[in-house]
Symmetry: C2
Subunit: 239 residues, 2 copies
């Protein structure tokens, strides 16, 4: 096995996108994971996680939500992009469904065995994909935003797990209780793993005091625990 990656050009709503498929190099159709990055888009961090997962038996599509010209763009630019892409939740849903179709169309992905994971804004996107009611095996949100899309509710068939920092200033305890209610009413098989003394962005080793966003900080224990839980979750989905 030698991990391979290739860029995939695609388009949504006039945006020229470039996602990255990371595989185990065998060409075999394996369970697939759609990995949705944070507001910062695709970085080495997401590619590293995808390579790790490809070594564990999953082929991973790291999706470009914003446009290929934004790879490596500055934070303020990316926050603007997040606003543009995310403000209309129905349009965001359609963008996400196009990512699901893209993943299903890859020969290295078993289209009947797909999970979705996402970070921060990408965690919200992962939840929004679950909310579509699409036939997805499971969805994992890492420090994702829980605000509901305000669209007609569907029965959620995906298993859902959220890894959540309890001190996340963007996701209060009230929002956690509200998500639990929403997921219960949607019939989802759900879990929320809450971590104390943990804020937003806890999986990102680059999230230090230097980036200057209060409440956003790497937390090594929560990062390790959430990934250990993810491996267990994927194992359960694709046993």
């Amino acid at each position: 096995m030698s991990i391979e990656q290739r860029n995939i050009a695609h388009e949504f709503d006039g945006d020229q996108l470039e996602s990255v498929l990371v595989t185990d190099g065998t060409g075999q159709a394996l369970p697939g994971v759609i990995l949705i990055p944070s507001v910062m888009g695709i970085t080495d961090l997401e590619i590293g996680w995808a390579r790790d997962l490809a070594g564990r038996g999953y082929n991973v599509l790291v999706v470009d939500m914003f446009g290929k010209q934004f790879r490596g763009a500055a934070r303020d630019v990316m926050f603007g992009e997040m606003g543009r892409v995310g403000k209309d939740r129905a349009n965001l849903r359609d963008r996400l469904l196009s990512m699901l179709e893209l993943a299903r169309g890859q020969s290295e992905v078993d289209s009947t065995q797909i999970a979705v994971m996402g970070f921060c804004f990408g965690g919200k996107c992962a939840l929004d994909l679950a909310r579509t009611g699409e036939d997805i095996a499971g969805v994992a949100s890492f420090h994702g935003l829980f605000d509901p899309p305000g669209l007609p509710a569907n029965k959620i068939s995906a298993k859902v797990v959220c890894y959540h920092g309890w001190d996340d200033p963007m996701v209060t305890p009230d929002a956690v209780v509200a998500l639990a209610k929403e997921l219960t009413e949607a019939g989802a098989d759900w879990q929320i793993h809450a971590y104390g003394h943990t804020g937003h962005g806890f999986t990102n080793p680059n999230a230090t005091a230097q980036i200057g966003i209060p409440g956003v900080e790497y937390q090594a224990a929560a990062a390790r625990r959430s990934f250990a839980a993810l491996y267990d979750f994927l194992g359960e989905l694709f046993a």
Copy 2:
């Protein structure tokens, strides 16, 4: 390795107790786990879990909280015993501290590496041991009760994890939020894993509709997930 078990007679407050030590049979001092049963006291279920853990490198003391004459007693008797033993939380704390001393005194237990796990009432007891501030590596509560003891608060040095059924009628979302606040203020390294569509007693395969307590029911997925998380937790504590 051949799993062995022996009864240990001890006493607290006039109660004649008989706990069970389950070891890997080598006589070696290993990390120790204090396992506190539910209201029903020591049953084959707890012994089975202890034997499983002994096969994973932990020697386990399954503690008798009520008195050896109550092994196998009827549910109404045991609820009475729970009331007797639990009504004075300072006395309960002292009873639990005597269990900790008992574990520390066993030659098969490394007294510097002790974790505590408990189920239902035993989960509350496990949390109460964390609340003492004692030097315990970690505490795991399975569908435990979260009501605080109303005793002076201590800094909690144990890592704490709670596996919690969100629909548990004895532990409402408000109680979850309150526990998060309490553990945060006590400085604990804490996690709460919440499971949707899951009630009280979810690890107990005997918790069926037949026992006739609404909201108490075995849930296979949550049982598997919580034990997988426990193994990861113990691995983290005693790596």
